[in-house]
């Protein structure tokens, strides 16, 4: 599409040079032939006009512009779709539908030549689809969903856990297609059987808090692993704390 205009331009320059040469010769003639008024010369036939018309581009989307370029020879008048225009020139057009353009060149004897070009207007693209529902990938679940931590032998939701769970609830509201499982964990101290029940209570406490924040209970399942499957295994208070939690796992 970009090569054609340069070749048209070359054509136009050549045409213009020829026209200028012609005009210069005519001027010289005037100066070289003085009066007396000559006898009326036998009337010479004017040369036949020619004209070319190009459109660049020839196909546009509605609302876009195309440039029409024309070049004539031996013409005294050029009309573009019935309107007088320069003998050589260009004009931007923005048709709303496919349009035929015609230039007509007329010489002094009233002889005419014409050229046509069609600018095809294509339908506008369909409006952009409404944005698809945001689909979170797996990684963003753990990025967005934080676990709730508990005190020793307790299943009460602490203030820091409330803050975390409120943010979690927002995420679950924004992602109604995600179901979740809350897994209760305990630190390694104490009876395994007791801790399994304690982990279940912690998971239930997390679930109940989310339900109080407007999350549908049917989206949330719970289980407990007690002291099994620890996040760390040191005998430090920090590690004990890390293992006392309600841990979120993506469900469905």
């Amino acid at each position: 599409m970009r090569k054609a205009p340069s070749s048209h331009l070359v054509t136009a320059l050549i045409s213009g040079s020829a026209l200028a040469l012609c005009l210069a010769m005519a001027a010289c003639g005037h100066k070289a032939v003085p009066p007396p008024p000559p006898p009326a010369p036998p009337k010479a036939a004017a040369p036949a006009p020619t004209i070319t018309l190009q459109a660049d581009p020839t196909a546009i989307q509605s609302g876009a512009a195309s440039t029409l370029t024309w070049a004539s020879t031996n013409a005294t008048r050029v009309e573009l779709n019935g309107t007088a225009v320069n003998l050589n020139g260009s004009q931007q057009v923005t048709p709303s539908q496919s349009t035929d353009y015609e230039v007509v060149a007329t010489n002094a004897d009233g002889q005419t030549a014409n050229a046509t070009v069609r600018v095809t207007v294509t339908q506008p693209p369909p409006p952009p689809a409404p944005p698809a529902p945001v689909v979170q990938n797996v990684g963003s679940f753990s990025d967005n969903v934080k676990d709730a931590f508990f005190d020793y032998d307790k299943s009460d939701i602490r203030p820091d856990a409330e803050t975390v769970l409120q943010a979690d609830a927002q995420y679950f509201k924004q992602n109604p297609d995600i179901n979740l499982q809350v897994v209760g964990h305990c630190d390694a101290r104490g009876s395994a059987e007791y801790n399994l029940a304690l982990g279940e209570r912690r998971a239930d406490a997390v679930k109940n808090y989310l339900v109080s924040q407007g999350i549908d209970a049917s989206r949330i399942s719970t289980t407990s692993v007690g002291k099994e499957q620890p996040f760390c295994t040191q005998t430090t208070d920090d590690c004990y704390q890390l293992n006392r939690r309600g841990h979120f796992v993506k469900g469905n």
Binding site: D153, E193, Y194, T235
Partner: protein, 447 residues
């Protein structure tokens, strides 16, 4: 203040019965006899491995029994009887009974191979009786002529000797079920009471807890999280297959067999907020709720194997109704719930077969509750007093009484890595049973 302190040394762990401010415990009320056990006479054709297995197992069984003073063989200056009739010789009998040996009971016998089988004659004599008297046991045993065959005979003879001494029933043929992760997952395993013949029973690749052998020894109840939720499972030890048993909403754990094997007690939340104790027939029918809590848990039931006459049965259990978990007892219909007055963090009750004592794991009060370190204690209902059994500064839990009322198996170790040990209730003969992987939650068979 009467104090009995017997120190045992176990892999650097000092286990002891430290009575401290508690009164003595009486295991049998009987004295320990000085027992001699010379090598059994191997007849022609008895493979050396069979004979040595027999002698070693019988020796270990009598040593582990903790009811005899087993006098070392290097001290035996008296001749071993080649036949029972040799004990009619007053000189031979006197050689055993005279100081410094001072033997009171003599166990001896012979091995022979007969038609491809191992035949063992075993005798026990009260050598303090005059010649011609004092025979306590004379019995012939037969089994395949293999080390395992010899092992089984030795266990059987050992229990017969213990019974003939007046300390029956013995535990030499008993089994222990437990949880091990050595296969890469927590699975149910079983083994002989001495740690031999460890055998994987489940392949469920999930969390497994609390195996409980049925009174007839044919079924294991346990908890498994296979399928996602912790539930009670029953495993046939005859076929190694799971039996039909109901699953419930939420969490169900800590099964316990009634003494007649017809019922199980267990803890479940049925999808609700708290764990409660239920009973159910072993065929899965007749679910019955025993506890009704409000904001706390009840779990880890343990039946009294020998409830008082006229009692509907008794169950010990753990409840967090006053805060940290405590041990309670109740009737098997849920009535008469009473707290064992302990305090601290008291869990994992196991009722002794004679019904007189509870073994449990305890973090005593005084601020140590958060340490995670717990010891095994015995609670005696008669005296309303406790006795501390372990003193090793580790995590000791899940005691289970042996059928002889004299031994406890329990788990001990660091967090996430524990092993199983047996110890006599007087703190003697501490023995490590396991070493591969982490092993926990032992349960001693009823026989």
């Amino acid at each position: 203040m009467k104090t009995l302190r017997i120190l045992g040394c176990l892999l650097g762990l000092a286990l002891a019965l430290g009575a401290q401010d508690q009164t003595q415990i009486v295991i049998t009320g009987q004295v320990k006899y000085n027992l001699a056990l010379p090598l059994f006479n191997p007849g022609p054709g008895v493979p050396a491995a069979v004979a040595s297995t027999f002698d070693n197992v019988l020796w270990n069984d009598l040593y582990q029994s903790a009811v005899v003073n087993l006098v070392g063989r290097s001290l035996y200056t008296a001749p071993t009887p080649a036949a029972e009739t040799d004990l009619n010789n007053p000189a031979l009998r006197g050689a055993w009974t005279a100081p410094p040996l001072s033997i009171q009971r003599l166990a001896f016998g012979a091995l022979q191979v007969n038609q491809g089988g191992l035949v063992v004659d075993g005798f026990l004599y009260d050598v303090t009786q005059p010649p011609g008297a004092g025979r306590l046991l004379a019995r012939r045993y037969a089994n395949p002529d293999t080390p395992d065959g010899a092992r089984a005979i030795a266990h059987h003879l050992a229990d017969d000797i213990i019974a003939a001494l007046g300390f029956g029933p013995g535990i030499a043929s008993s089994q222990i079920a437990f949880i091990s992760n050595r296969s890469g997952h927590q699975e149910v395993w079983t083994m002989d009471y001495d740690g031999h013949s460890q055998q994987q029973r489940t392949h469920l690749h999930s969390i497994a807890y609390s195996p409980r052998i049925s009174p007839n020894g044919q079924t294991l109840a346990f908890m498994s999280s296979v399928g996602g939720q912790p539930q009670i499972k029953l495993l046939s030890l005859l076929t190694n297959r799971l039996l039909r048993f109901p699953a419930y909403r939420g969490l169900a754990e800590s099964p316990a067999w009634s003494p007649d094997g017809s019922q199980l007690a267990f803890a479940a939340n049925m999808g609700g907020p708290n764990m409660e104790i239920y009973t159910i027939h072993a065929d899965g029918t007749g679910l019955h709720r025993l506890t009704f809590s409000h904001g706390y848990d009840n779990m880890s039931p343990a039946w009294n194997p020998k409830p008082p006459p006229g009692s509907p049965g008794q169950i010990a259990f753990v409840s967090s109704r006053i805060g940290l978990p405590q041990i309670y007892t109740m009737n098997a219909d849920g009535s008469d719930q009473q707290r064992v007055p302990l305090g601290g963090y008291a869990v994992s009750p196991s009722w002794s077969p004679n019904g007189l004592s509870l073994a449990f794991a305890w973090v005593r009060g005084g601020g140590g509750e958060n340490s995670g370190l717990s010891d095994i204690y015995l609670w005696y209902f008669g005296d309303q007093k406790y006795v501390q059994l372990t003193h090793n500064g580790d995590r000791n839990d899940f005691p289970s009484w042996a059928p002889d009322n004299r031994h406890i198996v329990f788990q001990s170790g660091k967090q996430y890595h524990t092993q199983l040990f047996t110890v006599a209730a007087d703190g003697s003969v501490p023995t490590q049973l396991t070493s591969a992987g982490s092993n926990e939650m032992p349960n001693w068979s009823w026989h």
